[in-house]
């Protein structure tokens, strides 16, 4: 093994994550390679410096309010989902009712009626086309059943 192969072991030794046998192997390597021993000392110093950095703990009230804030977020998120679904349903229903009213009205001109029907047919074709495409890709998706 060359020095390069001991770099990873150096981290394990530094963090006390090696088996007894690995420790002995690494110590033997350090004894024979002063440049690796010097590098190890540098990493040791760096580890000491990094371990000294402790982050400021937020005030207690942050933790006291944490669950309430998270719950509010959950509640609002679910609220928005329901609101959006309901709004879409109502808009579609309302739109159809308005168009139905216009088409059934004997006073409305034939051109407008044909235009509206063509618009509806176009929308329906677009919707079915997009839906079919999505379903096709979903069925082909190899990762759709991946669960963590």
């Amino acid at each position: 093994m060359v020095c390069e192969d001991y770099k990873d072991l150096m981290m394990g030794y530094l963090d006390n994550e090696l088996t007894e046998e690995q420790r002995r192997t690494f110590e033997a390597h350090l004894a024979e390679h002063p440049e690796c021993a010097a590098e190890f000392e540098q990493f040791k110093k760096l580890k000491e410096m990094t371990d000294q950095v402790i982050l400021v703990e937020p005030e207690d009230k942050i933790w006291q309010q944490y669950w309430n804030n998270t719950y509010n977020r959950i509640e609002r998120g679910l609220g928005w989902i329901l609101f959006s679904v309901a709004a879409i349903c109502l808009l579609i229903y309302g739109g159809f009712k308005i168009i139905e009213g216009i088409i059934k009205d004997p006073m409305t001109g034939w051109l407008l009626k044909i235009g509206l029907l063509a618009l509806l047919a176009g929308l329906a074709i677009l919707f079915v086309s997009v839906l079919r495409e999505r379903l096709f890709f979903w069925k082909k998706d190899r990762y759709k059943d991946v669960r963590r």
Binding site: K7, D8, L9, M10, M11, G12, D15, E17, Q42, F43, K45, L46, K47, M49, T50, D51, Q52, V53, I54, L55, V56, E57, P58, I62, W63, Y66, W67, N69, T70, Y71, R73, I74, G77, L78, R147, R148
Partner: protein, 192 residues
């Protein structure tokens, strides 16, 4: 640790059956850990608080994607880190124009991801330098430093969180620490 894992699985099961209290217990158990991981990744108190809470919201709405025999926290960690990394990417894109403008005017070097020294307890020059240097690391390197030094996780746990082997953890740690050392030496103008 074992007890905690069993508790987690039981709590997740209770939550799946509709217990809001079970999810509250999960949140309270992991809120500090989540906040400090997010803080280590994004380097800003407000964003860390927001992102950690958002991660719990996403976990709440996607709990069906967690296998019943899997531990909660490693799964949750993936949500949290993805949110933090997306947040950093969005911020970088937003800052690119103004940053390049400032640099062309002042010739200053790229800043960190907002790693303010005020977040460091009992500040001194060394600690501030280390914290700022962590902010200059790549996301992958920063993540492993945070998990090892600030969360004090074992290599086994880190490997589980990052879906990799312990060998990869050691190798990534080596490169992350090497980069950190270089950044600090550059600042100091010599060896540590």
């Amino acid at each position: 640790m074992m007890r905690s894992q069993e508790d987690d699985i039981a709590l997740v099961e209770h939550f799946r059956r509709g217990s809001k209290d079970a999810f509250e217990q999960i949140v309270k158990r992991y809120m500090k850990q989540s906040y400090f991981i997010a803080l280590g990744l994004v380097g800003n108190h407000d964003d860390a608080l927001d992102l950690s809470q958002e991660a719990f919201y996403r976990a709440y709405t996607h709990i069906d994607l967690l296998n019943s025999n899997r531990k909660f926290y490693p799964w949750f960690y993936q949500i949290l880190r993805n949110l933090c990394f997306s947040h950093l990417r969005r911020n970088r894109v937003r800052q690119t124009v103004s940053l390049s403008d400032n640099q062309s005017r002042t010739g200053s070097s790229p800043t960190t991801d907002g790693f303010s020294p005020e977040l460091v307890s009992e500040r001194n020059e060394n600690k501030e330098a280390v914290w700022r240097a962590i902010g200059q690391l790549s996301q992958k390197h920063r993540e492993i430093i945070i998990l090892r030094h600030f969360q004090q996780l074992s290599y086994e746990d880190i490997a589980q969180y990052l879906h990799c082997t312990q060998g990869t953890v050691m190798s990534r740690l080596y490169h992350a620490r090497q980069k950190l050392r270089e950044l600090l030496e550059d600042k100091k103008g010599g060896q540590l």
